[in-house]
């Protein structure tokens, strides 16, 4: 695929036809080019990515009575339940922070991750009609599904800041790390989403697996409990779960918990990177036949 065949090339004056020789050529071959060309093409289609994100956000809360409030209610109600059962009844330790804020600081990135994962996993199948009828870089679809969740994340994050103010907790200077942590959770959701969405095209088993997977993952991540409950020697292996780094990072940056997230973050980031690159390669191998199979 020639990357210069940018379908979004600048519009030209209507009547002047450029000579054939000067037009960019699209070459169609059984095998696709190298991954780089595809990423260049993805950049050329960035506007379409924007449109997909905008559509998903716009449509998500259409004909709902509560609208965007859902973005806040989901982590908020989970927090209430967790505080009752784990905080009050089970007296779960919470690294010296009030339990409600302890769990909410984790639930905000977690809710984003869980929703983005589910949305991207089903994204290709949900866009089957597009896949069969139009060409554009297929990556845009799971990518858009993940990005669309970021807006919900910010709404919930505002509530988190409000709660912190109510509890009289000032964020630490480590808050500058938050953007990185957000990117890490986007990358993690995308990495898993790429695998699952591509698998879902061929095996609809994925659709039934995702809710179950998310549930298990929730307990494999220090959301209801602190990771300090684990023995020191298991911590690095534990941190191969990308969300461990994200959640511990959030608490450390906002609530100044004692967990030093350095090694944890390193392990989580590396795991995410490996998963993401492998996911991209797998996705790329499968995308050639999406239209035939979906």
């Amino acid at each position: 695929m020639d990357a210069s065949a940018d379908p979004n090339a600048a519009p030209r004056a209507d009547d002047s036809l450029a000579p054939v020789e000067s037009l960019p050529t699209t070459v169609i071959l059984p095998n696709r080019g190298f991954l780089g060309a595809e990423l260049v093409e993805l950049w050329a289609y960035r506007e379409l990515l924007g449109f997909f994100v905008w559509r998903d956000i716009k449509v998500r809360y259409k004909q709902t009575a509560l609208g965007a409030l859902w973005a806040i209610l989901q982590p908020l109600l989970t927090m209430v339940v967790f505080s009752l059962f784990f905080g009050k009844l089970a007296s779960m330790p919470s690294d010296g922070v009030p339990y409600p804020i302890f769990s909410f600081a984790a639930l905000v990135p977690w809710t984003f991750f869980a929703n983005a994962l589910a949305a991207s996993s089903n994204s290709l199948v949900g866009s089957a009609n597009l896949l069969r009828k139009i060409y554009f870089p297929r990556l845009i679809i799971p990518l858009g599904a993940v990005f669309a969740g970021v807006v919900d994340f910010f709404l919930a994050f505002l509530v988190l800041l409000g709660m912190m103010a109510a509890y009289g907790i000032m964020p630490t200077a480590n808050i500058v790390w938050l953007p990185f942590l957000l990117i890490l959770s986007v990358a993690a959701a995308l990495a898993v989403g790429l695998w699952l969405s591509a698998l879902n095209v061929e095996y609809r088993d994925v659709r039934h697996t995702v809710p179950f997977l998310v549930q298990l993952w929730l307990f494999a991540t220090p959301i209801a409990y602190p990771s300090s409950l684990l023995a020191e020697k298991w911590r690095i292996i534990y941190a191969l779960n990308p969300m461990v780094g994200v959640v511990d990072g959030f608490r450390w940056a906002l609530l100044d918990t004692e967990t030093m997230p350095g090694p944890t973050l390193l392990a989580s980031s590396s795991a995410t990177l490996v998963l993401l690159v492998a996911g991209l390669l797998y996705f790329r191998r499968m995308e050639r036949t999406f239209a035939d199979v979906v």
Binding site: P7, E21, V59, K133, I134, E202, Y203, T289
Partner: protein, 432 residues
């Protein structure tokens, strides 16, 4: 490149590089993965076990088939190449390969310039979004920049005739409005190469004509178009050359009139006079329609197989829908061998019945002594509900008009006198 070299005699003189060059293109499908059923991991695991046991390899090969193979052709700039062939011949597969929706299994293709593809109108529309929002979304999906859309917004809305409903969610649009908006977006893409599949079969006649006009003007401004249509009259009107695909291979490529004639001659659904033909699985029905027409019967002649000039032609159209239909109006079109429309009539136009509410029934009609010269004629039937098509079968059947001494001169008409049988009076003034 020297222009003095003799050109390939089969191709028109078109110096310069082609806009589309296809070389040995082929596409292989696995049979199991093509149908509506999807694989489950369980099946995959079961299959893996089977092949371990040594039984899988054989069935693997049998379950593949080539939807398209050894396709090579070139399209020079400014051409409208019409693509014809039966359902399942591979036309749509070829368009999908060229628009990069799916990757070929072998061969290569090159396309120059910006490619716009229109394999289905309204792809990417979201029912909850307004007309304006869908317009932007759909344009972006088809490859337009936001700045371009802004520029052409008025033009697109004007063409689609939906200005009043621009901010209404399109779930409240009629299907006709949706089609108009969708086509309008696509028509304003301004690509160098436009790939179009069968999109004109929907919508009302007036708008269809407008779309055809738009394609003509795209062509006039030097755009190259690859057009698939079941409607041979569309191909005849627009195409500068025709590519005929049959069974995944090129069956013919050349001059429009000749290629269409060859295609029509290659197979027919000949219906004997006084006979009946089931229409439930007719190859001329576009896949988008669920069968409503069930059967067609011909009567009106004692001589089976042939209709002598001057006799009445009678048809019965048996139809049955899976729901109540409203304002049902059948349309018949007669085409001659070369695909020229000879005659069209609807029950409504003829002052016949247009039932307000019906699910199943039989329309009978009689053409009184059709003034047609000898030759084979094809009957295309449509069923409209209001202004919307609920079924349509291209060349549902054919019949042959046989010559007779209709003018009482002892001369029998044959097929060389045009299609219209029209009595005339000849006089001579002898001034010798």
């Amino acid at each position: 490149m020297s222009s003095e070299l003799p050109m390939n005699p089969g191709l028109p003189m078109n110096p310069g590089l082609p806009m589309i060059r296809v070389e040995g293109l082929g596409k292989k499908y696995k049979l199991g993965s093509r149908g509506g059923t999807y694989n489950t991991l369980r099946e995959r695991i079961g299959g893996a076990v089977k092949s371990r046991l040594g039984r899988g390899a054989e069935s693997e090969e049998k379950s593949e088939f080539w939807a398209l193979r050894d396709i090579s052709f070139e399209v020079p700039r400014g051409e409208i190449l019409g693509m014809i062939g039966r359902n399942g011949a591979g036309k749509t597969t070829l368009l999908k390969l060229l628009s990069r929706i799916t990757a070929p299994s072998e061969g290569r293709a090159e396309i120059r310039g910006r490619v716009g593809s229109l394999l289905e109108v309204g792809t990417g529309f979201h029912p909850e979004l307004s007309g304006r929002e869908n317009l932007y979304l759909s344009s972006a999906i088809l490859g337009m920049r936001k700045s371009e859309i802004d520029q052409r917004l008025d033009e697109i809305v004007e063409f689609a005739e939906i200005r009043r409903f621009l901010d209404t969610p399109i779930k409240r649009y009629s299907s006709g409005m949706r089609v108009r908006l969708a086509f309008s977006v696509a028509a304003h893409l301004d690509p160098d190469v436009l790939l179009v599949d069968e999109v004109l079969a929907v919508g009302d006649f007036a708008f269809q004509n407008k779309c055809l006009g738009k394609m003509g003007s795209l062509h006039d401004s030097g755009r190259t178009i690859l057009l698939v249509s079941h409607d041979l009259s569309v191909i005849r009107r627009l195409a500068t050359r025709v590519l005929w695909i049959d069974g995944g291979k090129i069956a013919g490529l050349g001059e429009t009139v000749e290629t269409i004639a060859a295609y029509l001659e290659s197979g027919s659904n000949e219906l004997q006079m006084g006979g009946r033909l089931s229409l439930t699985e007719h190859a001329g029905r576009s896949p988008r329609f669920k069968p409503v027409f069930q059967e067609i019967r011909l009567g009106g002649s004692d001589d089976p197989g042939l209709l002598p000039m001057g006799s009445d032609l009678e048809f019965e159209l048996h139809f049955e829908a899976d729901r109540e239909l409203h304002d049902v109006n059948p349309i018949i079109t007669l085409e001659d061998r070369e695909g020229i429309d000879v005659y069209s009539m609807s029950s409504k136009m003829a002052g016949g019945p247009v039932p307000e509410k019906i699910r199943s029934g039989v329309f009978r009609f009689k053409l009184e002594a059709p003034p047609l010269n000898p030759g084979v004629y094809y009957l295309t039937i449509r069923l409209l509900e209001g202004r919307r098509h609920v079924d349509m079968i291209e060349r549902a059947c054919s019949f042959e008009m046989v010559g007779r001494d209709v003018y009482g001169t002892g001369e029998v008409m044959d097929g060389q006198w045009g299609f219209l049988a029209w009595p005339s009076i000849w006089q001579l003034e002898d001034r010798s």
